[in-house]
């Protein structure tokens, strides 16, 4: 039983990843797609934090912690923070591009944008 419980958080991370991908694959709106993309990125935050988690441990802030007290792994928290920054940059850029797309074409439905389709064959 405890094995199942231990594996459950990892299953949640995988589930969030796949749910995000499913959303991107089926969405009909670029803003929705970018939100789903954030979901995909969130799965990595979840996974990283899970990796560093440890039972009965406190936050790795050493100002008010007695020496010898268990803390969770600070490295993964730093990684997660960096990852969030990277993710924010990507999301901002993609949203800006979506605004431009809406301005040029009046639609942000990927099914209705045919600008890249290869209708011309040799």
């Amino acid at each position: 039983m405890s094995d199942v419980l231990a594996a459950l958080p990892y299953a949640v991370a995988a589930w969030v990843l796949l749910a995000g991908c499913y959303g991107i694959a089926t969405s009909r709106n670029f803003i929705h797609i970018i939100v789903c993309l954030s979901l995909v990125q969130s799965s990595t935050y979840l996974l990283l934090l899970l990796v560093g988690w440890s039972g009965h441990a406190t936050a790795p802030v050493f100002g008010d912690v007695q020496p010898g007290v268990r803390v969770v792994d600070p490295v993964v928290q730093a990684l997660t923070l960096t990852d969030i920054v990277v993710g924010a940059a990507v999301t901002a850029l993609l949203l800006a591009l979506t605004i431009q797309l809406a301005k040029r074409l009046g639609t942000i439905d990927p099914d209705r944008i045919r600008s890249l389709e290869e209708d011309l064959e040799e």
Partner: protein, 603 residues
């Protein structure tokens, strides 16, 4: 710090610092005027410094621990920058392409402004950082920086909705890939408690192999294979390269693919070799590579849009490079490296000539451009010669790669890959030749013009006298390709770089401490031999045959015209799959990941 160490740190920091300064300086008129020359100067400096480093570091591996965070009792604490010849040569190549892109755009694209040069120089810094990163999370951050600048550069012309759409697709697919890679990083950290590449490798080799390591290998590789544009991760490539500004295409096709290939090789030998079975990665890389080469070549042959045509030829070449790495030998890496450099230079030159056509005629449709390039002698010659170079005609760069492949394939008992190489040469080279002869020489039956294919030109219409100056970068790139085949000691240098990549112990000893003597590269086969020249000529002849057959389809001799129907039905199937829908692309990434994972687990 020694001079070498300072140069190594500067390779990464100089482009980023200058990028920040130029971006800040753009508020003043003076700063805007200085932006172009300063950035160009930095790109030249990085290229020269990387070239010097490649010579100075020799066959060894040097490690710089910024901030003085050296390992304690063999346990790495800081973030390492690791320099060896292959990494330095990669930075040198990306620098060269950046210089070509910047000189091309300096006079040509006067309205691009400061953001463009800043993004280009940051892209260069990110590639350098990625090549030198000795830490897997660090590598991931560089990778994302490279990605974000590339998305922004692709979508830079916001008035052109195709560019914006291409950049969006590019960004979404690559971000999904990067998230999978980061999941792989997290799992590796969970297993080993290390982020340093060499330390992860050491820890993995000390424990029995298990499925978690294989899954994390598949996750980590998926992200780089997306950048490398292997089928079925390749869909974004044609969309992005068809719409990106011309100098950006040079960087995407030449730098991105090569950097991805470098990451695959480096991570395999440093991290996974010894814990994931060799046969697994060999099957995966050669399998994916072969499918990519064939699909890319066939798609390339069926394009009318010139940039899209070149983008698919990039896909085909990427497949060949993956096969070269998949041979899992020093000569295989050397061949893949030579091929990658030859491809990057030739493709860069072809893209730049294409940009000239776009600006003059406002279309990139091959049929629309029929006969319109007559009189553009230098551009036409460069394009047609570029086609022959892609077909592997000696003594051009891609031929040097193919010649090195012949040796590597003979050593690995994989002679059948020679057929794949010939197919790629014939179809990609033949397609470029077809387009070149049609546009610049006006040969062939008059094609059906089809619907309107007008596109916005990228910059100012260049006056006639400027055309010569615009053509300097492509001609220089072609000459670099020639040097690969003719330069003294190139084959030996490539062989030593290949031997360095596969020498896991040397990397490990340099980073974690411990003594290790660099393995000698062994006997280096010369590139020039009767077989390699004959194979090169055969590839060029096949390409010419394909070009002539598509220029005069009605004069195709009877026995040959039976191939027409299967050829067209193959194309129809492939075109139906390439539906330009971002949802499809992401689904394909997951399919590719599943296939990669299954291949790694089952073989």
């Amino acid at each position: 710090m020694s001079a070498l160490e300072i140069v190594v740190v500067m390779l990464v920091t100089a482009p980023l610092l200058v990028g920040a300064l130029v971006a800040g300086g753009a508020v003043t008129a003076m700063g805007r005027r200085l932006a172009d020359p300063v950035v160009l100067l930095v790109a030249v400096a990085v290229t020269v410094a990387a070239g010097w480093t490649a010579g100075a570091v020799g066959d060894g591996t040097r490690v710089v621990w910024p901030g003085g965070w050296t390992p304690v009792h063999g346990e790495p604490i800081g973030v390492a920058l690791v320099i060896d010849r292959p990494a330095a040569l990669l930075v040198c190549l990306v620098g060269l392409l950046t210089v070509a892109a910047l000189t091309y755009s300096w006079h040509f694209l006067a309205d691009t402004g400061t953001p463009y040069v800043v993004l280009v120089v940051v892209f260069l810094g990110a590639c350098a950082g990625f090549a030198l990163a000795g830490d897997v999370f660090d590598a991931f951050v560089w990778f994302e920086l490279m990605g974000v600048t590339a998305y922004a550069l692709t979508g830079m012309r916001i008035e052109e909705h195709r560019s914006v759409h291409g950049a969006l697709t590019f960004g979404i697919v690559n971000t999904v890939g990067a998230s999978l890679s980061l999941s792989g990083v997290a799992l590796l950290y969970a297993r080993t408690g290390e982020l340093n590449l060499a330390a992860i490798g050491r820890s993995l080799r000390g424990s029995p192999p298990d499925h978690l390591v294989v899954v994390s290998c598949a996750l980590l590789l998926t992200g780089v294979l997306v950048k490398m544009a292997l089928v079925p991760f390749h869909f974004w490539t044609a969309d992005a390269e068809a719409v990106a500004p011309t100098p950006v295409c040079v960087l995407l096709s030449g730098a991105m693919v090569t950097v991805g290939a470098f990451a695959v090789a480096r991570w395999w030998w440093v991290v996974f070799d010894g814990s994931v079975p060799e046969s697994a990665i060999r099957h995966a890389l050669v399998g994916f590579g072969t499918v990519t080469a064939v699909v890319g070549a066939v798609m390339c042959a069926s394009q009318r849009h010139l940039k899209r045509l070149l983008a698919y030829s990039t896909v085909a070449h990427s497949g060949v490079i993956a096969c070269g790495i998949g041979l899992l030998s020093g000569p295989g890496i050397a061949a893949a490296g030579l091929y990658a450099v030859g491809h990057a230079c030739t493709k860069g030159a072809l893209f730049l000539v294409t940009g000239l056509l776009l600006n003059r005629f406002e279309t990139l449709d091959e049929h629309e451009l029929y006969r319109r390039g007559r009189g553009m002698w230098l551009a036409g010659t460069t394009f047609v010669v570029g086609g022959l170079a892609l077909a592997g005609l000696p003594p051009f760069g891609t031929w040097a790669g193919k010649a090195a492949f012949s040796t590597a394939l003979a050593g690995a008992h994989a002679g059948w890959l020679e057929v794949v190489l010939l197919l790629v040469s014939a179809l990609t080279g033949g397609s470029v030749l077809r387009a070149g002869l049609r546009i610049f020489a006006g040969l062939g039956e008059e094609p059906d013009p089809g619907p309107d294919t007008h596109e916005q030109p990228e910059g100012d219409h260049p006056p006639r006298r400027d055309v010569l100056r615009v053509l300097v970068p492509p001609v220089v790139l072609m000459c670099v390709g020639l040097w690969l085949a003719l330069g003294p000691g190139v084959a030996a240098s490539a062989a030593s770089a290949g031997a360095t990549v596969v020498d896991q112990q040397q990397y490990s000893a340099a980073v974690l401490g411990g003594a290790h003597l660099a393995l000698p590269a062994g006997h280096v086969e010369p590139l020039w031999s009767v077989t390699t020249v004959a194979l090169g000529l055969l590839g060029a002849a096949l390409a010419t045959g394909f070009a002539l057959a598509s220029l005069w389809p009605s004069r195709l001799p009877g026995p040959l015209s039976v191939v027409r129907r299967p050829w067209h039905s193959t194309q129809r199937v492939l075109h139906a799959v390439h539906r330009a829908h971002v949802g499809d692309y992401v689904s394909w990434v997951l399919v590719g990941f599943a296939v990669l994972g299954a291949t790694l687990l089952l073989s």
